[in-house]
Subunit: 116 residues, 2 copies
Amino acid sequence: MTISADLLRGYTETIILRRLAEGDSYGYQISKRVNIISGGVLELKEATLYTAFRRLESSGMIRSYWGDETTGARRRYYSLTETGREKLNEDTAAWCETRTVLNRLITEENEHEPDN
Amino acid sequence: MTISADLLRGYTETIILRRLAEGDSYGYQISKRVNIISGGVLELKEATLYTAFRRLESSGMIRSYWGDETTGARRRYYSLTETGREKLNEDTAAWCETRTVLNRLITEENEHEPDN
DNA sequence: TGAGATACCTTGACAGGTGAGGTAAATTGA
DNA sequence: TCAATTTACCTCACCTGTCAAGGTATCTCA
């Protein structure tokens, strides 16, 4: 079972920032790591990934630099900025709140709540 | 604190279906109920709500009928179809899975996972 | 030699959310 | 009594994130 893209919309950037909090990384690696960590159910599409990188960089959340690979394909590494780190904290808090609210709205019984 | 729209994208229909699982209802009421249940942090915008109703009805998830109010503004009631009920079950399962995966990707430590 | 993996990138189309606009009736309070 | 607010519905054009499809280049291994 694969997770629908629509259910993830809005979390792509947070997922990327979280990965970069563990250390500098590059597109291809982040993509693979996310796939592994998710148990294979989530695949960040390349187009999605790279457009997210553009957004994050132009808004100052991440910085990029070319790696000095002497072998293999060139890699563009990304690193979290201070702003990005703060954004990650906010996003993480937002996720926790969203999770609570969605749980209440989708999975919990609400029949005995007051009507007004 | 209000929950960002983007984080909810894709859950609007599920939220509506879930409300209708508790009994027939109409737009305005669903909107208010969602707001109350969410503790005031989530507000389904009218445009969002009504376009979602259109989608759900044309895909056979819900049915609508005009109420016979003798007082107050007219109301268009919606009721869940059998298909809609099944969809709600699938969506609920999808939410649980998404929640687990996002938790792992956003809030958990993954530093000790194998690299490949 | 050539298939597959690594690694990057862009473009155009699509879909869901929403601000801003609209209608109409009932209620409320000054 | 009458203006403001609430109830209740609706649509359109725009914005934004996703992604299929296309591209480039290098390395590895059979």
